[in-house]
Symmetry: C2
Subunit: 190 residues, 2 copies
């Protein structure tokens, strides 16, 4: 499982055997059962999570008391509530396993120590953060430029395999519409 992380890092930077050892000492591997939580509201988020296998979701409870999913993370993606992580303030979010998952976590203080020992990791995380920001820029663009139905069609075209993995009601929540509306769109398609 640890290999999945260092293999991913090696796509972007070189790692020596010593680097790999230092990384493995800094992280923790967690087997997370489907529906188990890694973060819940009012906790301060202290870790970032790498999905080695499986799927996580980030969501909060909106005023209508519905789950509003704002992000998913599948293999080779990182997930965290960065506002809570950076500020130390309590999170508004849940991070929950959508499937039985293998997760690699790093505590934020341990990550800072690791950066000192393996400075090249700054490059890896710079690229990871830039990609995450790029995805967020696109997500905001889609929210403002597509109708609900267009957003559904666009998403299913871009991520056909992911569509098979997650329950429809979660996809509806992520795309910002009701499960009823989702059923209507899917009926039209078939």
């Amino acid at each position: 499982m640890l290999n999945n992380l260092t293999d991913h890092i090696k796509k972007f930077i070189d790692l020596s055997d010593t680097d790999i050892e230092l990384i493995n000492l800094a992280v923790a591997v967690k087997s997370v059962k489907k529906k188990a939580f890694l973060l819940q509201p009012d906790q301060s988020c202290k870790e970032i999570y790498f999905v080695s296998q499986g799927c996580l979701r980030l969501y909060f409870i909106n005023k209508k008391l519905n789950e509003q999913i704002t992000q998913f993370a599948i293999e080779n993606w990182w997930l965290s509530d960065y506002y809570s992580l950076e500020s130390g303030k309590p999170s508004n979010y849940y991070i929950q396993a959508v499937e039985n998952s293998e997760i690699i976590s790093i505590n934020k203080n341990k990550l800072e120590e690791l950066f000192k020992k393996v400075p090249r990791l700054e490059r890896y995380f710079r690229i990871v953060q830039q990609r995450a920001f790029t995805a967020a820029q696109k997500r905001i663009e889609y929210i403002y430029s597509f109708s609900d139905e267009e957003r559904y069609r666009n998403f299913s075209k871009r991520f056909p395999e992911f569509m098979q993995r997650i329950p429809q009601y979660m996809l509806a929540s992520y795309l910002g519409f009701t499960p009823q509306f989702m059923s209507k769109i899917r009926a039209k398609k078939d």
Copy 2:
């Protein structure tokens, strides 16, 4: 003007005189008149922009042919269309000066060369990208959790000085509602 950038970088990492020289050789300083463009649709975005003084906005034209602003950048913020920058594909966006501005730009190839010469800059940009992503996570949360009016009140509470700097119609566009709705909310407030 170049000092504003290196001063900002020095808040996060140490820079030697040689580092500063290398940075200054890699960047370009641009005086941009209000309403001038740094990027227009169908161009491929090749630079990232640091606001030394002034204000930029990132926007696209939506299907109703209205300007949809997705980001502002004021002093000490970076702005780019990262999707176009990374993929080389044509942008959907305009980057335009909201005020007469002093901008420091770096071409993406020159930035890659600079990273090789001053590897510690990876840390600076890792932090910059993480902050940008944190802001985007919050923005997506607010889109889904607040009503239009709440989003306006929240924004004006968090950024009172910025509210004074930008035209009301731009703020309405950024918050995703019409100038008419904005006038109604403001009338209520007074």
